[in-house]
Symmetry: C2
Subunit: 552 residues, 2 copies
């Protein structure tokens, strides 16, 4: 593999560890825990791994006790996030510090490699090629869900064959939920295998008091903010376009909010707010038209609008429409066969209840088609494929035309559309993410050596210097509650959506009107690795605000 | 304006000047010039500014002769390119070195500010805010064409009012052509105003022996290469998508080629090659399907494809179709009114000649609609709006389905689409572009002081250290030839398309098969400003190869 100049130099970067992990550690056992809700049910489902204590590592004068050399397996699960390779190298370095004979195995292409016994040993030379780089290509990732006893048993076979004592699952909320279930399962059958989770997701929705941020969020947001900033410069130079920019992030609007704090666009929609205020699509279009007409009065026919990926599903009326569409399409699909698109749309329209039919009719045709025709393997509408950015801009254009006729608006409106996601998930990690992920991995090795299972690697105090970060572990069960999934109540890690009482949102809300009616774009520029700490080491605005730090 | 941390630190960067410009200069007059073609016609059209000599600046022991303080005006013309602000600050610093009393005026929003007398004085404090930043927002840019005597006369009024001795036009080939016409016009009427051009365009198509590269190309390509690299990491981690990535660049494929050299994708289409080989859309689809099926045999159902923005117009058969569509739509537009989309398509189809009708029918419906419905103010098809990336992927998907049925292909094909343009045009300039643009601007001030008009600022030897760069000027007329525009022969600067005998293309062509049938992605990472020179100061691969330099 030929490397770029940056990669060659960057591969020499030595991620910084918290002080407690820099030498031998001892374990401080904290208080017993409870799950965030539904304590009785969760306790019943996790008899062996519920209520365990929080643990924290401290520097020790004595070397750690290591009985015998041991082997560890890892799985990269779900979507990529910057820093995954440093989790792997952190685990590797941690294992080797404990005992040079320890070995690390990687299961290939996600949980399926575990189930199907596809793996490789990760050696020092191989890992060296991936240190401080983005991507999950070191062993690949996959979306197979690890949740059935059959899968657990098949996996156990290869664990035993490779004499693996602990499995580390690097994933988001679902993957960590499954890690907890697997830990409980292995504990219950006395398999002698520990399971440790590592909190990964660019979406930023796996966080709480003990997991201050999931890894990758920082880097991905900085890549998006770089290109949003560039687009804003262009917007403010040419002064002729509204740029509608959709951002990945699944349900939660953390990415959009972070990018808004970084770049100060004219508008950033927050799905959680849309839901809380029960806003309709019409309300959103009206708000956008208000901003556009007010800016036009100031002579500005340009601007930027950030749109979170999950917006559609947070608009109660759209959610109701999608739900009815799923039913109508399931019930009447045979009648649609052979019809051309326009006739399909008419047919579907005729089956909808009046409120939904009106909304359906108000949508641009290509969006109505997307909602009606592109379905996933369960027959459901694929909300993530809907081009929300052009849905909004087309509805705005139509409304502005009407306002022009009635004399309420006299500006020009031209739109450009962007969707950023794949551009940031595999970027080389920022110094923050490079250090954080290395610490999470190194820390996971220490959790394994401490004999723990069903724990998530937790590194906290992240707005301070990395040497002052606090390393330890929390029982995954403490993050859980019961939620309905596919019609059944399941124990799952509670997803952290944007908190409308939290400081990041409140900060943005306090600036919103000013940003809309002025042009106060910020241009963060590309991620830097070699400059002053204020540029290279600053964590996300979200994290700083959540820790009462100044972001100016 | 609140600034990002990077902007605050970066504003302190002092761009490096060629040695010759670091102190007083003297002018070395070179040989007289000829235009690249059509010498007689060009000479007749430019009696006062044809055949002028090339000039070069050298260090002088004596301070320059400066008769009296003088004023200069500038225009930013056309699309944004990184480094424009440093051209402005270079001119400003050059003027001030010559005489502290010299003044600089900026015309607002491009040539229209010149024609309509909208301007501002650019003072030290104001310029300071923009040093080393991207964008053209310092005075704005615009696309008004400066080409009629009426415009020239209206502009002359404000030049006289502000006592401006020279006008600097920062633009691409068209804007510099117009600068030459304006220079000749003012010289002819004895207006006493010099006109100097500065070569700007991210597209990279304004270059020759004396203009080694236009400014902004380096930065824009590095931004695109960063995100392409990130996407390739994602592609190689998830191993489930083909990413079709369209890149700005108008007609020329320089940007796509440069990004291919930087990132090593599986496929990069080169419009100039498509034209030279008279390839059809079908040929291109066949090539893509060849690569995809061969990769599938290796177990790889993923890859990356770079598509230059101008591709469509370089496919002879598509060009013929578009040309006939323009005629059909002009002739029969009244018959289309009131028809729904499908009926419009059928009607248009019925009027096409058989060859074009077949091609039209083979296109995905939404592309056929784009070709038929979205027209510009002259009634022409808007080729730049056509989603070539999805046109190709949809035709590939269809062909692969057929190949699957006939047993020639058994892989999986899923596509993602991207279009990058606005993401890079206003990025903060790389060190290379920051230095180059500052030198171009500073140099322009020296050309003005040397009393020259109809010259373009030329800074050469760009693959060497900036102190060894050669500064001077060339008469714009030497770059010209006669070309047909809107039915008339016009003197224009010859556009530099990708040279199929040039080293950048040959280098890519030599690697092409290897890149297609392996996975050798490179990940350049984000632009760096503070690290080792090998990372921060390297010019584009295109420039290095054109100067016989090693790119590894």
């Amino acid at each position: 593999m030929k490397k770029s100049a940056l990669q060659r130099v960057r591969s020499e970067y030595q991620p910084k560890l918290p002080k407690a992990l820099q030498g031998p550690v001892k374990v401080r056992i904290g208080e017993a825990t409870e799950s965030v809700a539904d304590q009785e049910e969760i306790k019943k489902l996790f008899p062996h791994t519920y209520g365990l204590p929080i643990v924290q590592f401290e520097s020790s004068e004595e070397p750690e006790h290591v009985e015998e050399p041991f082997n560890v397996g890892i799985i990269l699960s779900g979507g990529q996030a910057p820093g995954g390779h440093n989790v792997v190298s952190g685990i590797f370095d941690g294992l080797k510090r404990l005992n040079k004979e320890n070995r690390l195995y990687g299961f290939l292409m996600g949980p399926s490699g575990f189930i199907n016994h596809q793996y490789m040993e990760l050696t020092a030379g191989y890992i060296k090629e991936y240190r401080n780089t983005g991507g999950f290509d070191i062993i690949g990732s996959g979306r197979t869900k690890l949740e059935t006893p059959e899968q657990f048993e098949r996996g156990l076979k290869i664990l035993k064959e490779l004499n693996i004592k602990a499995l580390v699952i690097i994933g988001g909320d679902d993957s960590n939920t499954n890690a907890a279930v697997l830990a409980e399962y292995y504990q219950n059958i006395g398999a002698g295998v520990q399971v440790i989770g590592v909190p990964k997701t660019i979406d930023g929705d796996l966080k709480n008091k003990w997991i201050e941020t999931s890894f990758g969020f920082d880097t991905a947001c900085k890549v998006y903010s770089e290109v949003i900033g560039n687009i804003q410069r262009d917007c403010n130079s040419a002064k002729k376009y509204y740029h509608f920019i959709k951002l990945m992030g699944r349900s939660a609007s953390h990415i959009a909010l972070e990018c808004a704090l970084e770049t100060q666009p004219n508008v950033c929609l927050i799905s959680e707010e849309v839901l809380a205020k029960r806003m309709t699509l019409d309300n959103i279009v009206s708000y956008l038209c208000y901003v556009i007409t007010e800016r036009a009065k100031l002579g500005w026919n340009f601007g930027t609008v950030l749109v979170p990926e999950g917006l559609i599903e947070f608009i109660p009326s759209m959610k109701a429409l999608i739900s009815e569409l799923n039913d109508v399409l399931a019930e009447h699909s045979s009648e649609m066969e052979g019809l051309d698109e326009m006739d399909k749309l008419r047919k579907i329209h005729s089956y909808l209840t009046p409120v939904n039919a009106d909304l359906y009719k108000s949508l641009p045709k290509h969006i109505a088609l997307q909602l009606s025709l592109d379905r996933d393997s369960h027959g459901n509408v694929q909300v993530s494929l809907i081009e929300t950015e052009s849905l909004l801009s087309e509805m705005v254009a139509k409304r502005l035309d009407e306002m022009k006729e009635s004399g309420e608006y006299s500006g020009k409106f031209n739109a450009q559309h962007h969707f950023f996601g794949y551009e940031g998930r595999c970027a080389d990690p920022t110094n923050f993410d490079a250090d954080y992920t290395y610490a999470l991995g190194f820390n996971a090795a220490m959790l394994i050596n401490a004999g723990l299972t069903g724990y998530m690697s937790s590194v906290r105090n992240l707005t301070e210097k990395s040497e002052d970060w606090i390393a330890g572990g929390i029982p995954i069960t403490m993050l859980m509650n019961m939620e309905k999934r596919h019609g059944h109540m399941k124990p799952v890690i509670q997803k952290a959506l944007v908190n409308l009482n939290g400081k990041p949102y409140l900060k943005f809300a306090s600036m919103r009107e000013t940003l809309a009616l002025n042009t106060l774009y910020q241009y963060p520029g590309p991620i830097q690795y070699f400059g002053p700490a204020e540029i290279c080491d600053r964590p996300s605005m979200t994290l700083l605000l959540e820790h009462d730090k100044d972001i100016n």
